[in-house]
Symmetry: C2
């Protein structure tokens, strides 16, 4: 916590609340400062402008997924199991969020789409985790693949339907369940598992 | 052409124009009848209500893809080649449409999303074509797969990023190009090609 008593979490909570209340176009730094009961200047000492604050809000939101994914990475499990659990955890995390608070989920989906650079960095971190699992699998002989990074990009794209917010409306359907399994079978074999 | 001189194409053209001009919420049957210079009653003889007319407009729009896809199906080519060409043709068709008239593309994307049943039937037709290519490949030994329908569903979902309108904004990026190839490599191997 900074000298002025403003923690990062409290600022981001206030910003999230203001965005939810007023929408992206109408929320400004004054709304956030007011919600915190501090001056403009105090808020600006933490975030130099609205864009910086917005990016921090979006990054915290997106970063939430690294908790369940980190837990999967820390498990002792064969690479195929680990990959399946990682993909399922990514899907389940997003699905739970969309279920629990559809409005907030939709707000963040729009915010992410409008915040330059936010998604790219996030997707890169996810692709690196995926590549790590695939590399370990290739090293142990569980997978047979020449280029773990390309394979990771392929797997990440192939599961778009189950982790990209644009498809949230269909995540609770039986078709989505069957589709996930179908893409998983294709992926498992595509990585040379069992070959 | 019907007795009243109204062809299906002219009605759908008029409806598309009206939708474009007024938007989905505000377009009604009178706007379409007016654009055609005919009475309400004349239009209702062809489409019993706005929902039926809208579905016909959407189905014509989506059905356009079956021309290039049909051409691929008619070619003499090995199954791997045919599958690659089919997936590329689907992608290229959508990408061209999004490029040529982004506004119309976005309008239709919204219309498809709001028209119950439109997408399901369309996706089923696409999945059947895919299953046909995969089945033929399994029969010739080019692919090794137990369940062509499940494999087709997997492939269709895996390429979501390259054919679903929600991702149109990124179709012209180098990442999308590389992503398509990465998913293709995963798919080709996932279908047991060359095994």
């Amino acid at each position: 916590m900074a000298e002025d008593g403003l923690s990062k979490a409290s600022i981001l909570d206030a910003a999230e609340g203001a965005l939810r209340k007023f929408g992206l176009a109408k929320t400004n730094m004054s709304d956030v400062a007011r919600a915190l009961g501090v001056s403009h200047a105090a808020l600006y000492r933490h975030y130099e402008n609205k864009a910086a604050l917005r990016l921090a809000v979006v990054e915290r939101w997106m970063g939430g997924v690294f908790e369940p994914l980190g837990a999967v990475l820390a498990e002792e499990a064969p690479p195929e199991t680990k990959l399946y659990r990682w993909l399922s955890a990514l899907r389940e995390f997003k699905r739970e969020r969309a279920r629990q608070d559809p409005e907030l989920f939709a707000m963040y989906a729009a915010l992410v789409a409008e915040t330059a650079g936010a998604l790219e960095g996030h997707a890169r971190l996810l692709a690196e985790q995926l590549a790590g699992i695939i590399e370990a699998g290739a090293a142990s002989g569980a997978f047979v693949c020449k280029d773990a990074r390309q394979a990771a990009a392929g797997v990440f794209y192939a599961f778009t339907r189950f982790h990209h917010a644009a498809h949230a409306a269909e995540w609770d359907t039986p078709e989505s369940e069957a589709g996930f399994e179908a893409v998983w079978q294709l992926t498992l074999r595509g990585l040379g598992a069992g070959s």
